[in-house]
């Protein structure tokens, strides 16, 4: 078994240590110590995104979508580093330069699964690769089940992408419920055996998420979007909004760009540019006849 090659620093934190994540310590059965590579400060409450190893393209795409969105919004993405859904979630986070944490079932210095050497190294550099087992502990079947309680404990919310029956994903969901974490499930096809487990979780009362806005809404109640995140893409700078004459005019009345330019005595090009930017920001809207007006968002 290969050992992990990374330039990220090694760390060990024990229960009671100030660096030990406090939200993990509050769970019913916290690990006695965490061994890992990377930054222990990355172990903040985040979004766990997990699913079956035998993932279908559906599960991988769902991972890409939800983990990608959460990463852009600044959430830390937590998963198990396993083949399939887990790795797709980690990759989505890395692509958006967000922090991501992999919780392994073996010692954190061992590469398992064997295809993950580069991925684990990248994760260690952007967040952390951790384990409750001492350095060099070789993987055993039962270890993966117990590490699932760490994934659930570190997360504020858990997204299940895809799970068959039986599945280890169930244990993570159980641990999450035991730790008082919300469980979100991506609904799957009723014909797909790969989705039977996840659909059963829905039947048992998990929250279905069908698009990004649903996840955003559900997540906002348990974990407000981090202020220091990478930012959810482009957004209008708030200081440029308040003094904006064009927006002020469009809030009160619907105007054509031509009339607006004449009213404000500005040239048409700068007015057209500004309106386009405001429109992309969702503050103004174009009507069918070419007029623009302010949206409810611009008034709130």
């Amino acid at each position: 078994m290969r050992t992990l090659v990374t330039c990220a620093p090694q760390f060990e934190v024990a229960l009671g240590d100030p660096l030990y994540p406090s939200h993990l310590a509050e769970t019913p059965d916290p690990p006695a110590a965490l061994y890992g590579f990377g930054d222990p400060a990355a172990l903040v409450p985040g979004l766990a995104v997990i699913g079956a190893r035998k993932a279908t393209p559906y599960g991988l795409q769902a991972g890409e979508l939800f983990a990608g969105w959460a990463a852009r919004a600044g959430y830390t993405i937590i998963s198990g580093g396993a083949i399939g859904c887990d790795q797709s979630a980690h990759r989505a986070a890395l692509r958006h330069h967000a922090s991501t944490v992999a919780v392994l079932g073996c010692g954190a210095d061992l590469v398992y699964p064997s295809n993950a050497a580069e991925l684990l190294a990248a994760i260690a550099e952007s967040g952390a690769v951790i384990s409750e087992h001492p350095w060099g502990t070789r993987p055993q079947r039962w270890m993966f089940r117990t590490r699932n309680r760490i994934i659930a404990g570190l997360a504020a919310g858990l997204v299940v992408l895809e799970a068959g029956l039986p599945s280890g994903t169930f244990s993570t969901a159980d641990y999450a419920l035991a730790a008082g974490r919300d469980v979100f499930v991506v609904p799957g096809s009723i014909f797909a055996p790969e989705c039977r487990g996840s659909n059963r979780l829905l039947h048992q009362g998990a929250t279905p998420i069908c698009d990004v806005s649903e996840l955003a809404e559900a997540l906002a109640s348990v974990l407000p979007p981090p202020a220091t995140g990478a930012g959810a893409g482009w957004a209008l700078a708030s200081d440029t909004i308040c003094g904006d004459e064009i927006l002020a005019a469009l809030r009160t009345h619907n105007w054509r760009p031509d009339d607006l330019a004449r009213l404000l005595e500005e040239d048409i090009v700068s007015v057209a540019r500004r309106i386009g930017i405001l429109e992309a920001g969702g503050l103004v809207v174009r009507f069918g006849d070419g007029r623009y007006g302010g949206t409810p968002k611009s008034r709130g």
Binding site: G233, W234, A235, R256, P257, D258, A261, R262, D267, I268, V269, A272, R273, R274, I275, G276, I277, E279, A280, G281, G282, R286, F287, G288, D289, G290, R291
Partner: protein, 495 residues
Amino acid sequence: MAQCSVRTATVLGVEAVPVDAEVDVGAGLPAFAIVGLPDLAVQEARERVRSAVRASGFDVPNARVVVNLAPGPLRKHGTGFDLAIAIGLLTATGQLPKRIADECAAVGELSLDGSVRAVPGMLAHALAARAQGRPLIGPAEATGSLAIRDLDYRPISHLAQLRGGIPNSACGSIGLATATDTRADFGDVAGHELAKRALLVAATGGHNILMVGPPGSGKTMLARRLPSILPPLENTERLETALVHSVAGLDDAQALSGIRPFRAPHHSASIAGLVGGGSPPRPGEASLAHNGVLFLDEMPEFGPAALQALRQPLEDGFVTLVRAEGRLRFPARFALVGAANPCPCGFKGDRDRACTCPPGLVERYQGRIGGPLMDRIDIVIDVARIDPALMLCTGATAVRSTELRELVLESRAVALRRGRGETSVLSGGDLLAACELSIAAREFLECAARAHYLSGRGVTRLLRVARTCADIAGDARVTTEHLGEALGYRSREVG
């Protein structure tokens, strides 16, 4: 000698195909026969040639005359063979020196009094003669557009002039003069600043544009002013465009002087009228607008089949007509300018008048242009009726076409230096590379695309227009600002 062959040509598409007029004067009952798949106009050459020869003071032989137009399988049409047949007849009977038939090509229609008239496609004939290294003898009235560099044109106005041997060459050394279209000026248009700006962008990047607005809002007036800000035709473009006009029997002088064609077919135009057709196949409006502007006023009123027929030329820059006799290719690379009412009654969104159309009809009306065609239109703008007071008070302050034209020329030079071809046809990796989006601009684009449900093609169109906006501003990179402006020009349909 009793036989003579004279080189002439027939127009096929936008090319003149060489044809030999072989004349045989032999023994037998006096007769005059023309063979070689002639149409009725060619058959009638017999009477014209006979009268013209006699009126020019030559003799018509009292013998059996047979004219064969070779190659035989090619259909011959039109009246351009008259001159060649007459020269062949006169040379075969020894009334003209043999040199004329041996060294020159001849095209022209004869009138009964022996004078020589022009036929459509004189420019095509002149180019074909040049390709064969022969001087072309033709009507003097066509000299105007043929007196250009490296065409050896020998004009005659009367058949009798050939008595003196091969006629003198028309002065063939003048280069092409450059003129600008000053018939309509943007300076005369009050208001409509956004529309003018959009037309400036369209002219710079070669984008197709659609203007939507109620009747009387000035769409046609704006479109007619577009040629005044277009750059002059390049030398090769002039010849291409003049050639199409020439074979269609239209005046080719404008195209030769560098003025881009502006074609505005009526909405009753048929498919053949729009993209070419008929027998013999003639270029349609799309080809006549080659290197220029095709303006379709009341675009949804055009026949759906005729409109959809424009998709191929918009994509490829030419029209291929497939007929039983073969395939013909007409050049048709044009900028499409469309104008449409927002609804059948025309007043949807008008400031004063209410629209009286039932709701479903409006969608159907707007859908008549069709998705695939809309996909090829980069810029869509709304043109509103302007305040009458505004129309009366400005005018002096409006920017003149000459200034806009300067701007177009400069911006096109910027785009040209980038060296990736015309902006309106960029796509994929080339387009992204040309745009050099910053991270902020990229994120803005993602955000805008998501907010407006833009498809891949929608994003491509947005980027193209933004690239042109940046060219006008002289920026090497496309920024959020340029994308913001381009966003205002997107079509209202989803995608």
